[in-house]
Structure formats: structure tokens, C-alpha cells
């Protein structure tokens, strides 16, 4: 078990090291997120929809779509030069590959979210203030679930034609529950409602994480095998 976890960390560290060298996925995702916020900020009718009303949805749609761009890359790098075979041949359980890729993907998505949040504050003119700790907790809870599902779908679609089209088609339906929860929580937190008012939503996000991380870890080995 310790070995399996250690190997997952080795894989995550490899992904992070490779990304630090190329900066391909992170740069694209951060630029994409910034452009999304610009679009949301300016493509609304101010008289009928205030920035504050749009802000939670804009934030989470931006997070989700930016995450998708990094998830698309997650297994594409393993397909280049057949590197995935190298992982599959290593004496480790397939679950180590899943958790390694999941940890690497989470690191990338959290970095994208960390860059996006200040831009969101600027474009939507919201004061995070007391909402920040709750918002960070919500980000962690909402992100873990959909990144876990995205990691499996990324592995599944990378062997298909049109992988970059297939991933959003498969993943978006599974993103709906965490996005709905995250938007609800974010709206209340930005309105300076107490954390206790959103505890049910936070529990729902936590349950989604536990259920889907478990399912994904169980399904992943059969996704990997030809």
C-alpha cells in the first residue's frame, strides 16, 4: 500500500516536472481562464443581469472549462512515443497510475484556479474577504470529484479518434452535480452568508468526491487494459 502510494507520487512528480519544463498545459489553461472571465464580464446586459448575480456561475464555468484543457493533456503526453506502455509495464498496480495522474491533474487545476481567482476578483469587482476560506474549501471539494472523473475519461478517450472532443462530451454531465453545488455555495459565501448555511452543499460535494474517487479507482484498471 505504501509502495503503491509512493509510486503514485513518483508519477505525479514526473508530470509536474515535465510541465514545469514545457509549461504547455498550465499556460494555455490560465490564458483560457482569463479570456473566459473577460467574455463573461463583458458579454452581459448590465441592466438585466448584475455582475454579482453572474459571478458564481462565471467563476465555476471558467474553472471547469480551464480544468478540461489540462485534463485533455493528461494522457495525451502518455501516448506520445508510447510512454503509457512504460507505465503499464512497471511493477505497480494500475491504481497507482490513476492516483498519480489524479494528483498531478489536481496540482495543475489548483494552480489554474489560484491564478484565476484574483482575476475573477478584478473582473467581477467582488470582495472575497471573509468568504475566502469557505471558497477555498469549496474549490477543493468540487475540484477533486470532477478531476477524478476527468482523469478516467482522459485515459479512456486518449485511445480514440477526436479525443479532445470526446472528453468534454463525456465529462460535462458528470460535472453538473459538483458545479451546481459549488455555484450554490459560492453565491451564498459572496453574499456573506454564514458557512453553516451551506454545510449541506459542502457535505454533498464531499460525498460526491468519496463516491467518484472510489468508483474511478475501481474502473481505471479495466480502462487501461487492452
Amino acid at each position: 500500500m505504501r509502495d503503491a502510494l509512493g509510486l503514485a507520487l513518483v508519477i505525479a512528480a514526473k508530470d509536474i516536472r515535465a510541465e514545469l519544463r514545457s509549461r504547455t498545459a498550465l499556460t494555455s489553461a490560465v490564458v483560457f481562464a482569463a479570456l473566459m472571465l473577460v467574455v463573461f464580464s463583458f458579454s452581459r446586459e448590465p441592466a438585466s443581469l448584475s455582475r454579482a448575480a453572474l459571478a458564481p456561475s462565471a467563476l465555476w464555468i471558467t474553472f471547469a472549462l480551464a480544468a478540461m484543457t489540462t485534463l485533455n493533456r493528461a494522457f495525451a503526453v502518455e501516448r506520445e512515443h508510447g510512454a503509457l506502455d512504460g507505465l503499464l509495464l512497471a511493477p505497480m498496480p494500475r491504481e497507482s497510475i490513476f492516483f498519480g495522474k489524479l494528483l498531478g491533474n489536481l496540482a495543475f487545476v489548483f494552480v489554474v484556479e489560484a491564478f484565476t481567482l484574483p482575476l475573477f476578483v478584478v473582473f467581477f469587482n467582488v470582495g472575497l474577504g471573509r468568504a475566502l476560506p469557505g471558497l477555498l474549501l469549496t474549490s477543493v471539494l468540487a475540484t477533486v470529484g470532477f478531476v477524478a472523473v476527468g482523469t478516467v475519461f482522459s485515459a479512456m478517450t486518449v485511445r480514440t479518434r477526436f479525443a479532445e472532443l470526446m472528453l468534454p462530451v463525456l465529462l460535462l454531465p458528470f460535472m453538473v452535480p459538483p458545479l451546481v453545488g459549488a455555484v450554490q455555495v459560492t453565491a451564498r459565501l459572496l453574499a456573506e452568508r454564514p458557512l453553516s448555511e451551506v454545510s449541506a452543499w459542502l457535505r454533498l460535494l464531499a460525498v460526491y468526491d468519496v463516491v467518484f474517487v472510489t468508483i474511478c479507482a475501481l474502473v481505471f484498471p479495466s480502462v487501461m487494459d487492452e
Partner: protein, 238 residues
């Protein structure tokens, strides 16, 4: 066929279908310690599929692979530990240096000092001077040498090499033959798939010709290549 008792690698009744198409149709093989099987055959004969099944990368529709007395199965990570694999592709990441690529492979195989293992592997492949280079900056031959170094980094008992001579110049091909002979002398076994029998002939202890998913020929290596080629006909290149 040799008796399988005490064999390092045994494959029995391997079949693989892709839909209605049967790529392998009942392949058996037995390799003992110190043996090298060289497989030739025309395109589409099932050579790559056979090697991938032996590596546990592709499931056989029927049949079994046993390595060091243990069935090779995707669900059994330890069954893959004794395998070193060279495929048509390098298995290397363009966004890591050569050294980091090999150190990563060494870490996956539990090497106590992955950095030292990577440095030693690059040294023996004659690539120490390119340790900091990305694989994308290497020539085809250098890339192939790096791929072979990656496969050898954990000192596997079984080497599975699919077209390993591709892109190698004469000295590098000679070095690979030397590596195969040293591997066999050390008690390892190897399966080498090649279109160019002459390259691998001296390292072989068994030679086989695969055609339409079956052995058309499979025998101990005869002394001379030319009589074998005469029997194999136009299905293999020299």
C-alpha cells in the same frame, strides 16, 4: 518445442482476435535461461501482437504466458517486474531530459538510487554527453539506444525487443548484439522481433518465422543464415 519444465518463459496456445480477424492462432514457445529467440515474418504476421502479449500489455484471447513460474497478467504487477521492453516507440517523454526519463523508469522499478542508475545506463549507451537533452533533440539512432537503455535499467530477466535494430548504425547494432549476448550469458532470455535476420543472427539460439499468426518455422538456430533464408523464402529479409 523444448520441454517447459524449468523454462524462464513459456507461452502456450496464444490466440488473439480483433473482432473476426485472428491475429495469433495458437502460438507456443519456451525459452530457457541464456536463450534468445529471434522472430521474423512479413508485415501483419502478428509479431508485435505476440510481443505485447508476452509483455502483458495486450490480453490474449486464449492461452497463457508464464514467466519465472508466474502467470503474466495485468492484475499481477509483480509478474511484470522481470520484463524489459523495447517497442517501435521510445517510451520516453519529450518534456523530460534523457536523464530524468531514465531516472523515472528506475524509480518505477524501485531502484535504490534512480539517479545513479540513470547515469550508469546513459554511460553504457554512450549517451552520457546527452543526459540533459530532450529526446526530441536526439537522432533516430540515439533515441533507439536510449530506449534500449530504458528497457535494461532494472536488469530484467526477460528482454522483449520489437525491431530493436531500427535506426542503429553499424557500431550501435554491434553493441546491441553484444548486449544481447551478455544478457544471455548472465542467465537472461530475450525475444527479438526483426525484419533483418542478419542483424540478430549471431545472438540467436532459436529462430522462428511467424506467418498469419502461426509458426511457419521454429527451430534451434542453424549454423548458417543462408540455408535458413532459403527455406524461409521471400517472407523475410536478410
Amino acid at each position: 518445442m523444448r520441454p517447459s519444465e524449468g523454462a524462464l518463459l513459456t507461452a502456450a496456445g496464444l490466440e488473439r482476435r480483433f473482432g473476426a480477424h485472428r491475429v495469433l492462432a495458437g502460438v507456443d514457445l519456451t525459452l530457457g535461461a541464456g536463450e534468445t529467440l529471434v522472430i521474423a515474418g512479413p508485415n501483419g504476421a502478428g509479431k508485435t501482437t505476440l510481443v505485447r502479449i508476452l509483455a502483458g500489455l495486450t490480453r490474449a484471447t486464449a492461452g497463457t504466458v508464464t514467466l519465472l513460474g508466474r502467470a503474466v497478467r495485468p492484475g499481477d504487477p509483480e509478474s511484470r517486474r522481470p520484463i524489459g521492453f523495447v517497442s517501435h516507440e521510445s517510451l520516453l517523454y519529450d518534456d523530460l531530459s534523457l536523464h530524468d526519463n531514465l531516472a523515472f523508469a528506475a524509480r518505477l522499478h524501485g531502484a535504490p538510487d534512480p539517479g545513479a542508475a540513470a547515469a550508469a545506463a546513459l554511460e553504457s549507451a554512450g549517451l552520457a554527453g546527452r543526459a540533459a537533452s530532450s529526446p526530441r533533440a536526439l537522432s533516430r539512432g540515439m533515441l533507439q539506444r536510449a530506449a534500449i537503455a530504458r528497457a535494461l535499467i532494472h536488469r530484467p530477466a526477460l528482454l522483449l525487443l520489437d525491431e530493436p535494430f531500427t535506426g542503429l548504425d553499424a557500431p550501435a547494432a554491434r553493441a546491441l548484439r553484444g548486449t544481447l549476448e551478455a544478457h544471455a550469458a548472465g542467465g537472461g532470455a530475450a525475444v527479438v522481433v526483426t525484419h533483418h535476420l542478419r542483424e540478430a543472427w549471431s545472438a540467436a539460439t532459436q529462430v522462428a518465422l511467424l506467418r498469419e499468426g502461426r509458426w511457419a518455422l521454429h527451430e534451434d538456430r542453424p549454423g548458417a543464415l543462408d540455408p535458413f533464408l532459403a527455406r524461409a523464402g521471400a517472407l523475410v529479409d536478410a
